[in-house]
């Protein structure tokens, strides 16, 4: 295991870099998209609620791999050329945004309806109340589940291996096929994933306990 790590450390760190880059980009955009759809799910407009709900349910109930491969194969064929990393990151973003929307929606709904009424009765508009009263409280509640979504995101970024996204998983396969030492190649990569995900998920467990 150590042998493989020292011999291929360059390649492994490149993979780690791409994995982290893809996860961070996907997290950033899925937070924005997720927040938008979460708000759509709670506004009074029935049409907006339906669109929000449909977006979340459709993306949550289709495998990430299908979404990613769609962007890798269908978009280049009919729309424009994109590389594997981009296709994979777009797929990850959309898939994760549905889960984030669901998380934030439950956060918004758990901030009691009384908060909205109280804010409205002081003369705030609906959007002011949402922006200054509801969302700040909701985000605070959903930090631990959002952290868990990020852990899932890092793990899910391994689908980039399907689309030649140069990520850790892709490097693992390439190292395994050059050295024929599958066990140690996958073990090394497993440890590298754990270095990112394990501290994060322990920290989220700690936060959950602290907030509860």
């Amino acid at each position: 295991m150590i042998d493989i790590f020292t011999k291929f450390s360059g390649q492994l760190f490149v993979g780690l870099g791409w994995t982290i880059l893809s996860s961070v980009i996907a997290l950033f955009f899925s937070l924005i998209i997720g927040t938008v759809f979460a708000i759509m799910e709670v506004v009074p407009s029935k049409i907006a609620r339906f669109i929000g709900r449909a977006y979340v349910e459709i993306l949550r109930n289709i495998p990430l791999l299908v979404i990613t491969m769609f962007f890798y194969l269908v978009i280049p064929k009919y729309v424009m050329k994109i590389n594997g990393f981009t296709a994979g990151t777009i797929g990850l973003t959309l898939y994760t945004s549905a889960f984030i929307a669901e998380t934030i929606r439950s956060g918004i709904q758990s901030v009691s309806g009384g908060q909205m009424e109280g804010a409205r009765s002081t003369g705030m508009t609906y959007w002011q109340a949402m922006r200054y009263i509801i969302l700040p409280q909701a985000f605070k509640i959903v930090i631990p589940p959002l952290g868990n979504q990020f852990v899932n995101l890092v793990k899910n970024s391994s689908v980039l291996a399907f689309v030649a996204g140069f990520d850790l998983m892709y490097q693992a396969n390439s190292i395994a096929s050059t050295t024929f030492d599958q066990i140690n190649s996958y073990l090394v990569v497993g440890v590298l994933y754990l270095i990112i995900t394990l501290p994060l998920s322990y920290y989220m467990q700690y936060l959950e306990k602290k907030l509860a």
């Binding site: 949550r60 109930n61 495998p63 299908v66 599958q182 990569v189 322990y202």
Partner: protein, 217 residues
């Protein structure tokens, strides 16, 4: 349009549905196995047995925090080095079961913990042993609350079986790839079919889970 008609020839549709059958078959076997194994591991982790619970907990945390894809690769390409050479479907079932057991173990443990500790103390104070209290008082309540979470875990298991296409398990995703591999005009129809079929299966299950969840509260 011509492409769509020929993409959905009877032969292709049949082939795709055979894949769906394998997807469901792998998912159901894996979920049953991981329900049993996960329950045992979750109870062990909850019971705070010296060392054993700590070690089991650490292994669960490790498995939960690596990508499922890595476990699939490890099972299929790594196990032969230990003299085991599973076929593709058993390999997928093993990988899914290992991963899902650890997920379900966590669900079971937090489910047990959410049934208030008062229940455990009350049962113990009536003279029940730890195991009796767990079996007759705590677990029935905990499992009742867990049903929706376990169903949503089952939905993600079904979606995750698509990853097994990488070791050429003949499931739906793999069969779709075989079909569009013959003619690149079939790519779009096949992705539409995959999306619709996965959605129908997963969404139906999610709705059932939500209905049960609402019914319970």
């Amino acid at each position: 349009m011509q492409n769509w008609i020929s993409a959905f020839s009877w032969l292709n549709v049949h082939f795709l549905l055979m894949g769906l059958w394998v997807t469901i078959y792998i998912s159901v076997i894996s979920v049953i196995l991981s329900f049993i194994i996960g329950s045992i591991l979750g109870i062990i982790r909850y019971s705070k047995i010296k060392f054993v619970s700590k070690i089991v907990g650490f292994i669960i945390d490790i498995i939960r925090n690596v990508p499922l894809l890595l476990i699939i690769f490890f099972t299929y390409f790594g196990l032969p080095n230990f003299g085991l050479r599973p076929e593709t479907i058993p390999a997928a079932v093993i990988a899914m079961t290992v991963f899902e057991s650890s997920m379900i173990a966590e669900i079971v443990r937090s489910g047990i913990q959410s049934v208030s500790t008062g229940q455990m103390e009350g049962a113990r104070s009536t003279g029940m042993s730890f195991v009796q209290a767990l079996w007759h008082v705590v677990l029935p309540q905990a499992y009742k609350n867990m049903i929706p979470t376990i169903i949503s875990q089952f939905v993600s298991l079904i979606k995750d079986t698509s990853l097994a296409t990488i070791i050429v398990v003949p499931e739906m995703m793999q069969h779709a790839q075989v079909i569009y591999g013959q003619n690149s005009n079939y790519i779009l129809p096949m992705f539409a079919a995959l999306a619709v079929l996965y959605f129908i299966v997963c969404f139906t299950l999610s709705v059932i889970g939500n209905v049960i969840g609402k019914h319970l509260t």
